[in-house]
């Protein structure tokens, strides 16, 4: 079952990446908007911090991963 799930995820990601359109710089007006950035906003740093302290899981979001604090 786990192998089937992993295979489905890889097929989905591969399909998405292979169907990408070539977007020219003058066509990126929507993509360049502040809320379209592929990173968390600076003010979200605080929420990522308390989630790192209060949960056993961390990382993959640009925040703390365990070093630099007495957190998990």
């Amino acid at each position: 079952m786990k192998r089937i799930k992993r295979t489905l995820v890889m097929i989905t990601v591969g399909t998405i990446l292979s169907s990408c359109a070539a977007v020219k710089p003058y066509q990126k007006a929507h993509l360049n908007q502040e809320d379209m950035k592929l990173s968390a906003s600076k003010i979200q740093t605080y929420e990522h911090n308390f989630e790192t302290y209060r949960e056993g899981a961390s990382g993959a979001n640009g925040g703390k991963v365990g070093g630099g604090c007495g957190c998990n």
Partner: protein, 386 residues
Amino acid sequence: MQLKHFWAIGLFALNGFLLAQNSHQSKEIEVDFLVNYYQQDGDHAAVTGGNGTEKLHDTAPMIIVNVPIGNNSLNVATGVDFYSSASSDNIDPIRSGASGSDARAYANIDYTINNAYGNGSYGFLLGGSAEYDYTSFSFGGKWATASADDNRELALSGRIFFDRAQLIYPIELRNGTDWLSDGNRRTYNVSASYSQVLSQRAQLSLMSDVVYQSGLLSTPFHRVYFTGESRPRVEKLPDSRIKIPVGARLNYYVNDWLISRLYYRFYWDDFGIQANTAEIELPVAISQSVSITPFYRYHKQSAADDYRPFGEHNPGDEFYTSDHDLSDFNSHKVGLGLRYYPVFGVADFGSLLMKRLDFRFSVYDRSDGLSAFSVGMGVSFIINNH
């Protein structure tokens, strides 16, 4: 010298550096002032073995400065967390309530060197933090490359943390027993991210970290109670840990007033914790200069193998913790963000422009009874060097 003196000297030096840059730079310097208040309460404090108040509040101001230096950039983030914790009083109940307060100061420096073609960069990372019983120093590097049409980007970074904790045990367990041998902790982190433009309205990023930690991974002042024993012991966890989170973010421009931001993360570590996290944000443009962003986050994790609730550990266990942060639970976070970003700025003071205001409020609820709220505010400035 007090902590506030170090911070004041650091800010003065940074201000001098910025003024010096003004005479050479033609690009804009960005300065963000942020402040956040966080408050939580619950009934499972690890200091008292997983059964006690978790009341805590934290006020955290922060400054982030980004200075362009020719084709490169210097980013400095520094701040202080002023926190007060009711459970800290229970490390040594005889001491006054002031023992539950502390401050953690930190600073991170990121220097990025961009190549002449504009499609690649590398850089250096430096960081440090200090509080009463914990200090940290870190350094690292990063590298990124983008396709010629800027529709794809691959970024890699690595960082090492050298941490040291003071071995402060609960008052009744300070009888000369060497509960823990060493207060040092090392964290090695390698991160990778891949970003892809999918269409004129959508873009995706995939992110992952591989983290290896060694040394002191338990907390010296956490108590653990055992079946058939009235006297607790100091928390004890394995001296190494591997963590692998994998995340994905998908942003879609629905129309001129709505954007969809989706995030998912799967997490695994060799402590036995597996977790799934999903978040949705929906920025809605109320006008040309105001947007509100409702958001919701769900998190579910399994317990660490060495976790047991209060009083349920077997006296023969090799490793033991009753820290509910490592237990199995699910959590919900819901909140609202507000942004004000007029085209010509909020206020213009000549060479200083107040560009944007951000507010963010969230409520967090964990299935074991811990609840929290967070409220933050950010002000962005641009220092114009024309």
